[in-house]
């Protein structure tokens, strides 16, 4: 364990003193503050003279304002944090000749990769917690509403899901840094994966849905076919961790949302119930709705790290 501690300590020092961390953090802090400010001002205006609805505080995170909501921003930009923190973690040591030195010290070999991953996760957690705290503080000052206990719990769960989500991307980038010798190659590969999941998976979903359930003149009016088409599209898009994350956090952070499915995909009774019972879900119900998403997200994070671990442990030290 001593080995891991020494490595985590060094890696954390490296992260926090690196330019890339400072730039990332400054960027995220800036965007979060601007977004919160805009959303907060808008809320304040709309709320004046009106009885305050419940869960106003969470609207700071979910209202889109003129640009995008904070939750959307993290979903889109979060992967980049993980990727930037990890894309050169192993191959930089290899090209600098420090990896074989590290491996010849009296530590278990997995301490190297565990330490790298752990320090990345800690960095991500510190980043997200501080941003969330700053946003909360600014929100308090702006709209003058104190968050309730349930709102705080929702924020904490949101935070945990977000950390796992970004840790997944960290795992991907560490895997690439093990597989690819060149630092530039692994940087490009991680970017490619990110772009693929952010932009192309929805296109891919449409293509697959068109291929499996073609919509044409004859059956476009047939609700059965349209439904099937949409279902296929949704299943494909759920391959993307981004989609999983979006669905999970949307339900957690917005108690009025009751399902991750779009209105078209709901059954008739479900539609009826959501229309009749407009009350927000309580916390456990919200968690219940997205527990499959959360478990899948955690599972892919663990699998991703597991693959990196195995590949790293099997690599010939000679090639280090």
């Amino acid at each position: 364990m001593n080995g891991i501690r020494a490595i985590v300590r060094k890696e954390l020092a490296d992260h926090f003193s690196s330019y890339r961390f400072i730039i990332l953090f400054a960027l995220i802090a800036m965007v979060s503050l601007i977004t919160t400010y805009m959303v907060g001002m808008g809320l304040k205006e709309e709320l004046s003279g009106v009885a305050k609805p419940s869960f106003v505080f969470l609207m700071l995170f979910t209202s889109t304002g003129p640009l995008f909501s904070l939750v959307q921003f993290v979903a889109f930009f979060g992967p980049l944090i993980g990727l930037v923190l990890g894309f050169d973690s192993i191959n930089r040591e290899r090209s600098a000749g420090t990896l074989s030195k590290l491996a010849s010290q009296p530590i278990y070999r997995d301490a190297i990769i565990n330490g790298k991953f752990l320090s990345g996760v800690v960095t991500i957690a510190i980043m997200l917690v501080s941003i969330l705290l700053v946003v909360t503080g600014l929100g308090l000052a702006l709209i003058g509403v104190v968050p309730g206990v349930e709102e705080l719990w929702r924020l904490i769960i949101y935070l945990i899901i977000s950390i796992f989500y970004i840790a997944f991307w960290l795992g991907i980038s560490i895997l690439f840094s093990i597989i690819f010798r060149g630092i530039a190659t692994s940087a490009l590969a991680t970017l490619a994966i990110w772009i693929f999941f952010s932009f192309f998976i929805s296109m891919g979903a449409t293509v697959v849905a068109n291929a499996v359930v073609p919509l044409d003149q004859t059956n476009q009016g047939n609700p059965q076919v349209v439904l099937k088409h949409l279902r296929v599209q949704r299943v494909v898009s759920l391959i993307s961790p981004m989609q999983l994350y979006n669905d999970a956090t949307a339900i957690i952070i917005d108690p009025t949302r009751k399902t991750t499915r779009s209105f078209v995909l709901m059954g008739p009774l479900e539609r009826l119930s959501s229309a009749r019972f407009a009350r927000p879900l309580d916390l456990f119900q919200s968690i219940y709705v997205v527990i499959p998403h959360i478990i899948s997200l955690i599972a892919i994070t663990v699998i991703c790290f597991g693959v990196s671990y195995t590949v790293f442990m099997r690599q010939e030290i000679r090639s280090m």
Binding site: N2, R5, A6, I7, K10, T98, Q105, P106, I317
Partner: protein, 252 residues
């Protein structure tokens, strides 16, 4: 030097696919010895070192380092063996002290104990004035001296030095070789030194081993090798001549 062997191998073999990097290697090194490990590039020296250190698994045969099996008890071996790999790397944006501190922590030396040790080691290798400079600004010679300082921090029983004088000017080479000699004489560290600098090896090595194509083609004190190959007894023998003679014989 008639002590029990601290490093022993029996028919140690390593194959990568169809190529045999190390071929049935059997040799031993006694406690406190400086063993000069010679041979052309690609003759299997580094592979042998990696196997002795437990970083690479042997295809067949056995190795014992201070009574431990490097494959099964890798951590125990790494605790008592200091290793300077060929082209050793340092963390460029950390200074000398920080690099050494990190090594100390990996070796479970608490910071309270390592501070004095680091000072002492840097003083010993003449890097005290540059201790707070980033390693990125270090010359090649300074890096090699920092590597020696790493060994001093770790205080191993055995040190594997893979080409520690590669690419150094003559003055730097002499300096490093003197430090290596001091490691052996002052700290009683058994040293396995791989190098191409035959004159320097001749200066400090107690015994010589010459490797070619994964086999040890000659082993013993220089006088013995010279006697066998050149038939000379006088004190003016040079390792260069002996080395060349062996190669001419094998290649012809």
């Amino acid at each position: 030097m008639d002590q029990q062997p601290v490093i022993e191998t029996q028919n140690l073999t390593k194959r990568y696919g169809t190529t045999t990097a190390v071929d049935n290697l059997t040799f031993s090194i006694a406690q406190g010895e400086i063993f000069g490990f010679l041979g052309p590039n690609g003759s299997g020296k580094t592979t042998t070192l990696l196997m002795l250190l437990g970083l690479t698994e042997a295809t067949s045969g056995t190795a014992t380092v201070a009574g431990f099996n490097p494959t099964k008890e890798a951590i125990k071996v790494k605790r008592i063996v200091g290793y300077i790999p060929e082209n050793i790397g340092f963390y460029e944006d950390m200074n000398g002290v920080e690099n050494l501190r990190f090594i100390a922590r990996l070796n479970h030396i608490p910071d309270t104990a390592s501070t004095a040790k680091i000072d002492e080691a840097l003083e010993r290798v003449g890097l005290k004035d540059d201790a707070t400079k980033k390693v990125a600004a270090f010359s090649r010679g300074m890096r090699q001296r920092l590597a020696i300082a790493e060994i001093l921090i770790k205080e191993p029983k055995i040190a594997f030095l893979d080409e520690p004088t590669l690419g150094l000017d003559p003055e730097g080479t002499t300096l490093i070789i003197d430090y290596i000699k001091a490691l052996s004489r002052e700290h009683n560290i058994t040293i396995l030194l791989s190098s191409h600098d035959l004159q320097q090896v001749q200066r400090i090595a107690d015994r010589i081993g010459i490797m070619l194509h994964g086999k040890m083609i000659a082993e013993g004190p220089l006088e013995k090798l010279a006697h066998e190959k050149l038939g000379v007894e006088d004190k003016e023998i040079s390792l260069d001549d002996v080395y060349m003679k062996y190669f001419q014989e094998v290649t012809s």
